[in-house]
């Protein structure tokens, strides 16, 4: 299914409208081929159609996420977007070196299933960003030592 048809069928199925602006936003994300920031998307859309308003880009990013055509994640204080894949995937973000690793949905789904069984709550998150320390940094970054007296000028 081509990009344009995918947008149409998904959006129409929700009783919403297909607009040029929405197509442009989706195309910008697809063209980026991975994680892309709000600004990068706006720049790309503006290059194609300068009259598209920034507000419209923001609104349509939210919209495309609701339609599950796009997934978002906040990493390092910035919002990133990428095209939603056939299969959800999640990220491991290192707080120290900012490296971003992937983790399969299968791993996470076990938790979601457990929550559903125990609390009848259906978690529907397709794109989780889990923060911590990566294999490298966990050995480099230590916990704060209790403070000792410090030599002046040390």
């Amino acid at each position: 299914m081509s990009g344009a048809n995918e947008l149409r069928s998904r959006v129409r199925a929700h009783g919403k409208r297909v607009t040029p602006q929405r197509q442009l936003v989706l195309d910008a994300i697809r063209a980026a081929g991975g994680h892309v920031t709000t600004n990068e998307i706006f720049t790309h859309v503006s290059a194609a159609a300068s009259s598209v308003n920034r507000t419209t880009v923001y609104r349509n990013l939210d919209f495309l996420c609701e339609m599950r055509l796009v997934v978002a994640a906040q990493i390092g204080g910035k919002m990133y977007y990428e095209i939603a894949g056939e299969e959800p995937h999640h990220h491991l973000v290192c707080r120290h070196c900012d490296s971003v690793g992937e983790i399969s949905h299968r791993t996470v789904k076990a938790l979601f299933d457990k929550i559903e069984r125990e609390q009848s709550f259906v978690v529907d998150m397709d794109h989780l960003a889990l923060f911590g320390l990566c294999a490298e940094c966990r050995h480099t970054v230590s916990k704060p030592k209790l403070r000792t007296r410090r030599k002046r000028g040390g």
Copy 2:
């Protein structure tokens, strides 16, 4: 351990400073007794000391989170803060009715441990907000039906 002493010992242990502004921010969150928004915190702090700058509040919210005295979560587009408990806990947020339930750390920790074993990545999130549909809404909210012809004025 009283609030003031807790701030001092934690902050001094990291080689950082104890300031009146930091105490006021922590006290505002404690006084709220649950989830409280940035604005509510700022309002409370301002009532106690009108010269405290908004920027300072933002900075100290971040700081208190780093010190693990406070936990943050973005729920429904807003940032909420609460005092960090002895034991981490996490939330289940319903996308439909906005209800917020709790989930124990034990449940989530199984996933974190698995990630550590399989990928040597130590997840350190003490306050996760997982989104989905609650027991009530999962039966109420249906998936979009394929659109059928609609009667005008229906």
